[in-house]
Structure formats: structure tokens, C-alpha cells
């Protein structure tokens, strides 16, 4: 009867889920990813890409073929390090937007050792790594101090330091570090012993080892050490952490420095394993990718490794798309963004339950 419809109505309600079953969680993420992929397939078909070739060229060519998978590994190595860098800082709610700049400073640190021939040749590469870590951490130091001492918002301070780092790089390549040989704006090339060698399979280099060690270290630091437990407390509730006597400032500041150092490590890998010099086109977005990776991975180190690898695959597949179909860069960027956004948005459905609730009007 009509009167019944007026008295009882339905509406959507949001409920917070109390407990999330991991399988359910995975199902939601995969579901969201397939929705995103579905939209992308639609876009690609519209752009004139053949449906049969999508699977063959983008999935098989990217993940199930030596050339493809090795390219993904090379692509994801700095992404793993950038993701770890973001995770280390975000865990204590230190919003480090300055990873890009810290990566660049890492490159500067490594290049400094290389072009001034500091230290014996046998340990030159180790010195470069140490300096890269140091310079990255140094670049995170002012925002860390400003945050814990003066409560200056680190989003702004770290963001602005990116520009300073970039212009410092430009100053060096157009100024004192200009290649004396060809007088072009890049540093002189690293010597053989200043480069990370290839492992002997495809073009994969020892940066993969650096990334693996970093994952283990960060895993231990976050999941097993006393520092990790304390920092989880600081991240969850800084006031309470302070109230029970934890050194909140110290934990926040040192997390920021670890983050900077990890970004510097990414810079070291980019410089010593693929570029072999300081160039004006370095960082190129690794820092911002790192932020997305850490977010998707829930700031957990092992998950960061997995997400970074998938992200690397997404970039490599996007690059193939451009090569095979001369697709515009904007379209490829759009497709990558749709996939990342779909997965990111799934977080909402993991946390909340949408229900069509019936209620009676009185």
C-alpha cells in the first residue's frame, strides 16, 4: 500500500567496521583494482588499442618476460627506497613531502665524493653511499628541528626544501660542477669503481641488493625494535605517548632523519647505478611516487616492497603503451592515476560498511 512507503523509507548508512578480515580486505582491494583496470581498458579501446594486444603487450611483456621483468626491477629499485623513506616518516605523522629534495641531496653527496676523488678507490662506492645517506638526512634535519622545537608545519618546510635542492643542483651543474670535458651542464662522469655494477642478468644492478638490505633494516626497525613500538605509539597518539613519558620529539625527529637518509640512499642508487653522474633531470618524481607507495602499503616495509614493484610494473607498462601506440603521455598518466586512485579509494570500503537501512517514520 502507498501509505506503507511513506512510513517506511530506505537510506544508505555508513558503518565503521569493527574488525576487518584480511581476506575480505584483499578481496576489496582486488575488486577496486579490477574496476580501475576495467575503466582503463575502456579508455584504451577508445584510443584504438586492440583488446587482444592489451594482455599480451602490457601484462605478458611487463611481468612474464626477462626483458620486461628486469626493466620493472630496475624501475622499482629506487621506488622501494623512496617508499620506505615515506613510510618511516609517515608512521610518526611526520608528513615528509621533501623526499624529492632529499633524493637530490643524496645524489649531490655521492657526486661530491666521486668528482673530488675522496678516499681510496676500493671503498669509494661505500663512501658515496654514506655521504648520500648523510646528505639526505641533513636535508630532513631543519624541518625535523623546526617541527619538534617550534612546531613549524613540516608539510610546508619539507616541500619548500625540494625547490632549494633542485636549484642547488642547477647551480652545481651550470656552475662549479659543470663537466670540464664537454662544458655541458652535468657533472663529470663517475669512474668504473664509482658505479654500482650489474649483477649479470639483463640490466639489473646491485641497487637491488641495497634495496633488499634497506627493506630488512626498516622491517627490523619498525616491526621488531623497541624504537618501532615506541614510534607506533607516537604515531597513534602523540599526547598519550608524551603523557607516559616517551621521548616524542626525539622519536619524531629521528624518524624524519631516517626518512631523509633513506631518500638519500635512493639518490645514491639512481646516481651510481643508472645515471653515473649528476644531471639536471635527476629525481623526476621518485619522491612523490614514494608517498603514494607508502600510503598504499600502510607504511609497512614488506608491503612497501610489493607495492613499489607493482607500481614499477605500472610505469613500465605505461612506457610500453606509449612506445607501441604513440599514445599521448597525458593518456598514459590518466590510466595510471585511475588505477592508483581506485586502489586508494578501496581503503574507504575496507574501513566502512555501506548499508541500505530501512527505518520507520514515526
Amino acid at each position: 500500500m502507498a501509505s506503507l512507503n511513506i512510513l517506511s523509507a530506505r537510506r544508505l548508512t555508513l558503518e565503521v567496521r569493527q574488525r576487518v578480515n584480511p581476506i575480505y580486505r584483499l578481496a576489496i582491494i582486488l575488486g577496486a583494482a579490477s574496476v580501475g583496470l576495467g575503466i582503463c581498458v575502456g579508455i584504451l579501446l577508445d584510443a584504438g588499442v586492440n583488446l587482444a594486444s592489451i594482455y599480451e603487450e602490457f601484462i605478458v611483456f611487463t611481468f612474464f618476460n626477462a626483458a620486461g621483468i628486469s626493466t620493472v626491477i630496475v624501475e622499482s629499485t629506487p621506488l622501494v627506497l623512496a617508499g620506505l623513506s615515506a613510510a618511516l616518516a609517515f608512521r610518526v605523522n611526520f608528513w615528509n613531502i621533501g623526499i624529492e629534495g632529499q633524493v637530490l641531496m643524496g645524489v649531490i653527496g655521492a657526486t661530491l665524493i666521486a668528482i673530488f676523488d675522496i678516499g681510496p678507490q676500493s671503498i669509494r662506492i661505500v663512501l658515496m653511499l654514506i655521504f648520500a645517506v648523510g646528505f639526505g638526512a641533513l636535508w630532513a634535519l631543519p624541518p625535523a628541528l623546526l617541527k619538534v622545537r617550534l612546531n613549524v608545519n613540516e608539510v610546508i618546510s619539507t616541500l619548500l626544501l625540494n625547490y632549494i635542492a633542485f636549484y642547488f643542483v642547477m647551480n652545481q651543474v651550470y656552475g662549479p660542477w659543470k663537466d670540464p670535458r664537454d662544458k655541458f651542464p652535468h657533472s663529470e662522469k663517475y669512474e668504473t669503481f664509482e658505479r654500482l655494477p650489474e649483477i649479470g642478468w639483463e640490466q639489473v644492478h646491485y641497487g637491488i641488493l641495497v634495496a633488499a638490505v634497506a627493506v630488512v633494516l626498516v622491517w627490523w626497525l619498525i616491526e621488531r625494535s623497541r624504537f618501532g613500538i615506541r614510534s607506533r605509539f607516537v604515531g597513534a597518539n602523540p599526547r598519550m605517548a608524551l603523557a607516559i613519558g616517551l621521548p616524542v620529539s626525539l622519536i619524531t625527529a629521528s624518524s624524519a632523519l631516517f626518512s631523509g637518509g633513506m631518500a638519500g640512499t635512493a639518490g645514491f642508487v639512481i646516481a651510481s647505478a643508472t645515471e653515473f653522474r649528476l644531471t639536471p633531470a635527476m629525481a623526476a618524481g621518485y619522491g612523490f611516487s614514494g608517498i603514494v607507495i607508502a600510503f598504499l602499503a600502510g607504511n609497512r616495509p614488506i608491503a612497501t616492497l610489493v607495492v613499489a614493484f607493482l607500481m614499477g610494473g605500472l610505469y613500465v607498462a605505461g612506457a610500453s603503451m606509449k612506445v607501441f601506440y604513440s599514445l599521448p603521455d597525458a593518456l598514459v598518466g590518466l590510466i595510471q592515476a585511475i588505477i592508483v586512485l581506485s586502489v586508494t579509494a578501496s581503503e574507504f570500503f575496507i574501513r566502512y560498511r555501506l548499508r541500505l537501512a530501512r527505518y520507520e517514520r514515526s
Partner: protein, 362 residues
């Protein structure tokens, strides 16, 4: 004088030696030429890359072959190499680049794939199957400078430039030398934006120049912004990369434009015929052989001025040198002595601005 002759002889012997090495195994293409192009920016950037894309289309029409391209491959080895390798795996045997930042990656690729020909505009590396090339842009900019000198009423012209190093400095200097051909009293003020593609800074720089009383504006950046500002302000401008009448029809008096196809089409034919011998020092293309030419002139340029410009162009084609000594720098020091011309090495290393230029390289 004797010293100089000895030096020339030494260089000649050295060059002959290198040429001999290159002769040792003349490059042979495996099969029909199958080119592919890698762009460092989007194909419709309005400047450098778009000029390349237009050359590609003219070459497709002229040679009757398809030349696929991939856009926006950043100047990072780990992005460039996979893109090139994807084409190579699909049987492409001529890979063309688009940027200085591709130099190292192309060198590595050329060593890894000796059966593939590599060509890179604005590159710095060369080899038995790798040729870098660039235009003598100072010639076309010199001719546009003549137009600027003829059009200025205030005897003050301005120039918006990207980064202060050899190949930008020479366009600034040549522009003023050209202007003086038709107006001995003219002075030039240059602003370096520190970036190839920064429309915001280019606009601010162009406006600042207008406020200082300049009434013709030249440029060497990657966007049409300086010409757009010139049109807004009701003054004149000259463009670079492409014919800027597209963006500022009322203001653009002359443009220095890339005509890569005039160089690359014969090069392709040489490669196909097995007669290609890359110049170990890079090809430095004069106005008569491709590189840059001028799109001249706009309606505001009087016919007698246009005639003088075209006559001077003819003189350049026939061997006249723009930097015929004496050339004095800002401090009044002789940089090119009376009766001499700078070597190509001197041009690439040009680290001074000439007398009459206001502005600084730092």
C-alpha cells in the same frame, strides 16, 4: 700565427686519425631502414619537440615510410634505454633521440646494439653508429637580430634566454651582432630564466624587459611566451624553434626555425646506402645544410630590411662567419682577434657575453 697553424694541423691529424678509426668498419644497416623517434617532451609543446614532430611528419611524407614516436621520455637512462630497446626488439634499426640528456644513454645503447644506427639532436656523444648533431643556431638568431635592430625605435632590445652556457650564450651574442648590422647604436638586455620551459618566469622576465624600455624581444627558451607578451604589450618579437606567428601573429617579425628534415632525410639515405660515417666530433649543421633557418619576415618588416636579411643569409650559406673578429666581451677583453673566427670548440665553450649586452651569466 705559426702556433695557430701548428694547432690546426694537430687537430686535423687527430681528426683524420679518428675518421680513420670510423672508416675501419663502415656502418651497415641490417635490412631496410626502420626508424623510430624518442621525444623527451610532449609532441605539442609549441617549441623544440613540436619542431621535431613536424620534421618527422615531413620525412614520413618525403620518404614514404612510417616513423613511430614515443613522447615524454624523461632524460633518465632507466627510462630512455627500455624505450629504445622496445623499438629495437620490434625490428627498428634507426633510433632517433631528441635531447642533450639522452647523450649517455644513447652512447651505452650504441655500444650494446652495434647493428642499430643512433641519431641524437643536441647530444654530445658519438661513435661508429651514433651521431649527435645540432644546428648553428647563432646564424638564424643573428638574422633575426638584424630584423630586431631594424625595428627598434628605442635602440633597446631584450632577450629571454634559458640557461647560461655555450649554445645559449652564442644566440644572445649573435642576436646583438645581427642587430648592429642594421643599427650600430642598439644595446641588448638579456634575462636567463634558468629553465628551458618555465612560462611563468618567461612572462615575468619579458614584462620586466618591457618596463625597462625595450621594444623588440628575442628568445631562446622552449615556449612562445616571450612573443605572446610582446603581442600583449604592442611591441615586436622574434621567435625560436618554430614560426611563432602561430601564437603571436601581430608581434612576430622573424623566427629562427628548426628544419631537421633537411639534415635527416639525406642522412637516412646515406645510412640506407651504407655510406654513413658519423663525425666523431658531432655534426654541427650550418644554415645551408639544415639545422635552423629563418621564417622571415612578418608584415611589419620593410621590404628593404627583408632583402638585406636574405642577402646576409646567402652570405652565411657561402661561408661568412657570424663571430668574425674582433669580438670583445663585456669587460672589453678581446675574445676573438681581428681577422680570426672562433673554432667550433670555442663556440661550444662560449662563456662570455659580448660588449653591449646588459646582463650576467651568473
Amino acid at each position: 700565427m705559426i702556433k695557430r697553424i701548428v694547432a690546426i694541423a694537430a687537430v686535423a691529424v687527430l681528426a683524420a686519425g679518428f675518421a680513420g678509426l670510423a672508416h675501419a668498419d663502415t656502418f651497415k644497416l641490417d635490412g631496410d631502414p626502420k626508424p623510430a623517434w624518442i621525444y623527451f617532451n610532449v609532441k605539442n609543446d609549441g617549441g623544440w619537440t613540436q619542431a621535431i614532430d613536424e620534421a618527422r611528419q615531413r620525412m614520413e611524407a618525403e620518404l614514404g615510410i612510417e616513423i613511430p614516436f614515443v613522447e615524454k621520455v624523461p632524460e633518465i637512462a632507466s627510462e630512455i634505454k627500455p624505450a629504445a630497446e622496445r623499438y629495437i626488439r620490434r625490428g627498428h634499426n634507426i633510433i632517433i633521440g631528441s635531447a642533450f640528456g639522452y647523450s649517455d644513454a644513447f652512447k651505452e645503447l650504441s655500444e650494446r646494439y652495434p647493428e642499430v644506427a643512433f641519431l641524437n639532436p643536441a647530444g654530445t656523444t658519438n661513435g661508429p653508429n651514433l651521431q649527435s648533431f645540432y644546428g648553428r643556431t647563432y646564424e638564424s638568431q643573428y638574422l633575426c637580430g638584424m630584423v630586431a635592430g631594424a625595428l627598434t625605435k628605442s635602440n633597446k632590445i631584450g632577450f629571454v634566454a634559458a640557461n647560461p652556457f655555450g649554445l645559449v650564450n652564442w644566440t644572445v651574442n649573435a642576436y646583438l651582432l645581427g642587430a648592429r648590422q642594421l643599427n650600430p647604436d642598439v644595446t641588448l638586455t638579456v634575462v636567463f630564466t634558468g629553465a628551458w620551459n618555465d612560462p611563468v618566469k618567461e612572462r615575468a622576465s619579458a614584462q620586466a624587459l618591457v618596463e625597462q624600455g625595450i621594444d623588440v624581444i628575442g628568445q631562446h627558451v622552449d615556449t612562445p611566451t616571450p612573443q605572446v607578451v610582446a603581442q600583449e604589450q604592442g611591441i615586436f618579437g622574434t621567435g625560436h624553434h618554430r614560426d611563432m606567428r602561430e601564437f603571436a601573429p601581430q608581434a612576430t617579425a622573424c623566427s629562427s626555425v628548426w628544419v631537421w628534415d633537411r639534415y635527416l632525410t639525406p642522412t637516412f639515405k646515406k645510412i640506407a646506402a651504407g655510406q654513413w660515417e658519423p663525425n666523431p666530433w658531432g655534426d654541427f649543421i650550418s644554415i645551408g645544410d639544415g639545422g635552423t633557418d629563418i621564417a622571415c619576415c612578418g608584415d611589419m618588416v620593410p621590404q628593404d630590411v627583408a632583402d638585406k636579411v636574405m642577402a646576409e643569409r646567402e652570405a652565411l650559406v657561402n661561408g661568412k662567419h657570424v663571430f668574425q673578429g674582433p669580438i670583445y666581451d663585456q669587460a672589453g677583453t678581446v675574445r676573438v682577434a681581428e681577422g680570426e673566427v672562433p673554432s667550433d670548440g670555442d663556440l661550444w665553450g662560449m662563456d662570455y657575453l659580448i660588449q653591449g649586452v646588459t646582463g650576467s651569466l651568473n
